[in-house]
């Protein structure tokens, strides 16, 4: 599903240049649940941003489902993001003046799907994350866990090839974190490919594979025995 070869990225900070990613080689199969771990500054967020086409690599190859991701203009990148990728953020990033349902329906709106169809589909995904009754509430009326569920529904609604989650439990207490991870595991069980960036070992353990990043290189890439989140709940 994802093929990365010799990926380099550096940031210019005034006269200094900060080499963040120093040759990453890495691939993800369909249906995997991968955790990318590392301390802050290890380059894990940069990697995720490049995978999410929010940022571009300086060097190296990136293939997403056999499509080379290269030299994108903004319109094309927007199209790819909309069709291929779903984002889940640490701070939820819901649009605060739109209801849960409208938030979930946004990616479909950008696909120019008719309103009615869009709302039906969004409602279906809200139901899947267990928030059907909350569909007409604003984000400010939801708890942190609920907000993240809405965000997950929004990431899922366009049926992307890959879900990218950036510290998705970072703003949640551990009980809620496990509930959210349970949902992620269920989605993965349905065959969706998910990449999770985290620095929490217990969250990483709930994935099927852990990639350790340190100072811009992969130091360890291991399959692990998945810990089911239900055990904690």
């Amino acid at each position: 599903m994802i093929e990365i070869k010799d990926l380099h990225k550096s940031y210019k900070m005034g006269s200094n240049s900060l080499h963040v990613l120093k040759g990453i080689n890495f691939s993800v199969e369909e249906g995997e649940l991968v955790a990318i771990m590392g301390s802050s500054g290890s380059g894990k967020s940069t990697l995720l941003n490049i995978l999410g086409m929010l940022d571009e690599a300086d060097e190296g190859e990136y293939m997403l489902d056999d499509i080379p991701i290269k030299n994108l203009n903004e319109t094309k990148a927007a199209n790819y993001r909309n069709k291929f990728l779903g984002f889940i953020f640490q701070s939820f990033n819901l649009i605060n003046y739109k209801t849960a349902l409208e938030n979930v329906a946004l990616p479909l709106y950008y696909q120019k799907m008719p309103r009615k169809q869009r709302q039906e589909k969004a409602l279906k995904y809200l139901e899947q994350v267990g928030l059907k009754e909350w569909s007409h509430h604003l984000p400010s009326e939801l708890s942190g866990g609920q907000k993240q569920r809405v965000a997950i529904a929004r990431a899922m609604v366009a049926e992307p090839k890959v879900l990218l989650a950036d510290e998705l439990t970072g703003a949640l207490d551990s009980k809620t974190s496990y509930e959210v991870m349970e949902l992620i595991q269920n989605i993965n069980d349905q065959g969706n490919t998910i990449l999770v960036v985290t620095h929490e070992p217990d969250i990483a353990q709930m994935c099927k594979r852990i990639v350790h990043l340190k100072d811009g290189v992969i130091v360890k890439d291991e399959k692990v025995k998945q810990v089911r989140a239900t055990a904690h709940v």
Partner: protein, 419 residues
């Protein structure tokens, strides 16, 4: 463009901070209001002045004689001469573009002695010997009886048409005027009509104190022979009298053996030129109206642009989220532009409506308090409103352009990082 979700979003954004939205739109509202008020005030002045000109044929000149200042063809300097009735025929033949040539002789004048007697009443009035065409050049309303006609001219009838001012001074209130006689410098004339001139400026009273008699009867009664005191000459529409006046004057000079370079011998007044001066004043006024109005509007637009920049700044993160979810940059740009245009149009419409109410109010006050000198019926026409709308749409685009550009300038990743 007429997309329910887009408009819903525009409303959501603009209503999320009511106070700010209203304050911002006030700038545009004020600009359009000022524009409308200035233009309508200019129009009111124009209407007032036009009404003062009334229906007077403006493509008109007046021409008269004075003593010569140069000896010519054996004739001495300082010679007095008069136009003759034949000159009218000469001019008509030479200048077919002329519509009316009204020769006139005159008695009395401002500050003159009493020259009209009726019974025990006397008065000092302007008495004109005129041709019937004069009513086309100097319109007046006939309130009783009739005006002069060509039969009167041919038969040299001693009849008179008197102004209401004359009637009020010489007659009792309910006395019958038509058929009665007045004595003008010892000669009896029968009154066949009364008139009223419509003017709203200061010479209104003077205008009502005139007496019109047939030119031929006047000449005979007051020993004028073939003399003509002065002529009122109107050209056909499309032939400005201003272009022709020197030819007319020169023709008269050659007919009366006046030195071509004698500038005093033939006097004239070009009403058309004066009228055009006033016309260009109207043009200048509406230019000032537009200029000031558009400048005030511009400051309103800068206000809108400013606020849109702030809105974009506030929504940086949201824009980042949207782009991460796959919204096209162009769609975001369109959103910002539409918000800006919507805001300007709504506030501009409010300005236009308020301006219209203001004009309505002024008109109501004018109607209630009677006419005012040089000001009448202030208004703006639909063309101006349409122009204002075009200006609004254009300025909305202008106001939104920089903010929209800045909204998509930031890369989504940087936009997402903003707090």
């Amino acid at each position: 463009m007429f997309n329910r979700d887009r408009w819903q979003e525009i409303l959501e954004v603009l209503t999320s901070n009511w106070f700010r939205t209203v304050l911002t739109s006030f700038g545009v509202f004020w600009g359009i209001l000022i524009l409308i008020i200035l233009l309508s005030a200019g129009k009111g002045l124009e209407n007032g002045i036009r009404a003062d000109f009334g229906d007077i044929a403006t493509n008109t000149m007046f021409i008269w004689t004075r003593s010569t200042t140069k000896a010519h063809m054996g004739l001495p300097i300082g010679r007095n001469f008069r136009f003759k009735i034949q000159d009218v025929v000469t001019l008509k033949e030479k200048f077919p573009q002329l519509r009316y040539i009204s020769p006139r002789n005159q008695l009395g004048g401002f500050g003159g002695n009493n020259n009209v007697v009726r019974g025990i009443n006397t008065g000092a009035y302007n008495v004109y010997g005129d041709y019937p065409e004069i009513i086309k050049q100097e319109p007046m309303a006939i309130t009783a009886g009739r005006f002069l006609n060509h039969n009167d001219i041919n038969a040299k009838r001693k009849i008179a048409v008197i102004g209401l001012g004359v009637r009020n001074e010489l007659y009792e209130k309910e006395e019958e005027v038509l058929g009665s006689y007045i004595k003008i410098q010892g000669v009896n004339f029968m009154v066949v009509g009364t008139y009223k001139k419509r003017t709203s400026n200061g010479d209104g009273e003077e205008g009502q104190k005139e007496i019109y008699v047939p030119f031929t009867a006047f000449s005979q009664a007051f020993n004028q022979g073939n003399n003509v005191g002065w002529m009122s000459i109107t050209a056909n529409d499309g032939y400005p009298i201003t272009d022709m006046k020197m030819n007319i004057v020169n023709e008269m000079k050659s007919v009366h053996k006046v030195h071509p370079e004698d500038t005093r011998a033939v006097g004239f007044f070009d009403l058309y030129e004066e009228y055009n001066k006033v016309e260009s004043l109207f043009g200048a006024m509406s230019f000032i109206g537009y200029f000031v109005g558009v400048l005030v509007l511009l400051s309103g637009i800068i206000g809108v642009s400013n606020i849109m920049l702030i809105v974009v700044k506030e929504r940086t993160k949201e824009i980042g989220i949207r782009r991460a979810l796959g919204e096209h940059p162009w769609s975001i740009k369109k959103q910002i532009l539409l918000e800006s245009i919507f805001l300007t149009i709504i506030s501009g419409m409010a300005g236009i409506v308020f301006g219209a109410l203001f004009i309505y109010g002024v008109n109501a006050i004018l109607d209630a308090n009677g006419p005012v000198d040089m000001f009448m019926n202030p208004s703006v026409n639909l063309g101006v409103v349409a122009a204002a709308l075009v200006i609004l749409i254009f300025s909305g685009l202008l106001a939104g352009f920089i903010p929209a550009q800045s909204a998509i300038k930031l890369r989504p990743i940087d936009a997402l990082r903003t707090e």
